[in-house]
């Protein structure tokens, strides 16, 4: 046995020396902002994509069918830039090719805009307005709760009044079908409510405790926890289970877990939730073992 431990010690010493230096101890040089150097493969892929943009995209179809001379001319300019991009690529000047591709894309988008509707529909504006209004309302309610909780003074009340006044004005403007003005007022209310909440809550840590009113409620929580771990096996181990030995190990733990889950369900059906919770916990632990056995560490 002593010989084995000597070998182990030697291996350990070797590995300690050759182990990578942890990042925290490595000297880190300040990084300059990255400069993108176009690579051949990247430019080649972009050439293909821009070609499709110019020839087969729905925008290209719209421009071609529009009869709009300006848009068609703009697309021709884009095609000319594309030709230059192809020439640069052939002469291995990928940077220049990339620049021409950028020009071609910009020109083509100008052409598409010339024939597109270009206007945001009234329904879209109204939909956006309603979404923003929902955010303002829910944040205003939150502000009121926080204000009560923190016993904030008159200053917050004044802020709330100002926000509510803006919301009211916004509604009036909307009724008058002045949707842009209505949105502006609403956005101002939104900014104010965000700032007010940040002033009150900034720097806080809120704890959401885990409390169960009944054992049945706790059982439902454990069922969800068990389901979650079962789903994790599918999500995390798809590739790993292609290796038969890993699949075998995972299957063994999963089978044990399923058996325990059935046991727990039978206990719960008889109203013995306390025992069912303990059994479910064991079932979930088997699933954790299954995941870990495939080489994926999950806490718990």
């Amino acid at each position: 046995m002593t010989r084995w431990f000597m070998i182990l010690f030697a291996v350990l010493a070797f590995l300690s020396v050759s182990a990578p230096v942890p990042k925290a101890f490595a000297e880190e040089e300040p990084k300059a902002p990255p400069v993108l150097k176009p690579k051949k493969a990247g430019v080649e892929s972009r050439l293909e994509n821009v070609k499709r943009l110019l020839e087969v995209s729905s925008g290209a179809d719209r421009v071609k069918a529009s009869g709009n001379a300006d848009a068609i001319a703009k697309r021709e300019e884009a095609i000319a830039a594309m030709v230059l991009a192809e020439e640069s690529f052939k002469s291995k000047d990928y940077k220049e090719s990339n620049e021409f591709l950028g020009q071609a894309t910009t020109l083509m988008f100008e052409a598409v805009r010339m024939v597109g509707t270009g206007n945001v529909s009234k329904e879209k504006k109204l939909d956006d307005y309603n979404r923003r209004a929902a955010s303002v309302n829910i944040l205003l309610e939150a502000l009121e709760r926080i204000s009560t909780e923190k016993k904030s003074g008159r200053e917050v009340e004044t802020q709330k009044d100002a926000i509510e006044a803006k919301v009211a004005l916004s509604k009036t403007l909307l009724e008058e079908e002045k949707i842009e003005e209505a949105r502006r007022e609403l956005d101002e209310a939104y900014e104010l409510v965000k700032v007010s909440i940040e002033e009150l809550r900034g720097g806080d840590t809120l704890i959401r405790s885990l409390e169960f009113a009944t054992k049945e409620e706790e059982y439902d929580y454990e069922i969800d926890r068990n389901d979650t771990h079962r789903m994790l096996i599918d999500v995390l181990l798809k590739e790993k289970r292609k290796t038969e030995s890993i699949d075998n190990m995972v299957s063994k733990f999963v089978t044990q877990s399923e058996s325990l889950r059935k046991e727990a369900e039978a206990q719960a059906a008889k109203g013995d939730y306390e025992t069912a919770i303990a059994t479910l916990d064991r079932s979930t632990k088997e699933l954790v073992r299954a995941i870990r056995s495939a080489g994926v560490y999950i806490p718990g």
């Binding site: 990255p34 885990l210 599918d234 999500v235 995390l236 699949d247 560490y297 806490p299």
Partner: protein
């Protein structure tokens, strides 16, 4: 394999795992120690909605091939291929292999906060919400700070989360189904395989008991 050799192999695997942080190797070794009578059971149908949990060959495909963007739309071709775009960004070990928080902090990227106003800055909100969970699993810390450096309150409130205590029934199952946190995590933000990024607050000894 003799008992001595088997014990030595397992110990070596655990040592390697400890030295190099390869927890999976350690688990494999422990599992091997526990299990020598395997049974076969086929995997159930795998969830496909967690698109950041793809094998390497399917990761970060060009927009027109990713099954998400419309290949007939001109806008799709304006988008840079992610493999090219992500090349110079800080790396991570999961999802689309980019550490987005680091990329933002170190100014590799400076996302425009308002599409009409290039000067507008986000209102960063420093509020942590700790959600206790059962068992020895560390509690979840939701930091508003990292989220509001890029997102706006209205991105989540109220459509995804009601900003009120007890109003949101969050479960890992719902997240895995692409709801709640799963609206972003697993799709465009780091996936659920990164347990420790959210379950980041260890329980106190008192709470464990």
């Amino acid at each position: 394999m003799s008992m001595k050799m088997r014990a030595l192999r397992i110990m070596l695997m655990i040592m390697l795992a400890t030295l190099y942080g390869l927890s999976g190797v350690g688990d494999l070794a422990r599992a091997e120690a526990e299990d020598s009578t395997p049974q076969i059971q086929r995997a159930a149908k795998v969830n496909t909605f967690n698109r950041l949990l793809k094998p390497p060959s399917e990761r970060n495909l060009p927009p027109a091939e990713d099954g998400i963007h419309d290949p007939t739309s001109e806008g799709t071709y304006l988008l840079q291929s992610p493999r090219e775009a992500f090349d110079s960004l800080p790396k991570s070990n999961s999802g689309n292999r980019v550490d987005w928080v680091k990329a933002l902090e170190e100014k590799y990227i400076e996302p425009r906060f308002d599409r009409f106003d290039p000067e507008k800055k986000p209102m960063v909100f420093d509020l942590n919400i700790v959600r206790e969970v059962k068992g020895s699993m560390p509690d979840v810390v939701y930091p508003h700070k990292q989220h509001t450096e890029w997102l706006d309150c209205s991105n989540c409130h109220p459509a995804i989360f009601i900003p009120q205590k007890g109003a949101n029934q969050i479960s890992m199952a719902s997240i895995l189904m692409g709801e709640m946190c799963g609206v972003c995590h697993g799709k465009v933000a780091f996936p659920v395989s990164e347990c420790r990024k959210c379950h980041s607050q260890n329980k106190t000894a008192e709470a464990k008991n």
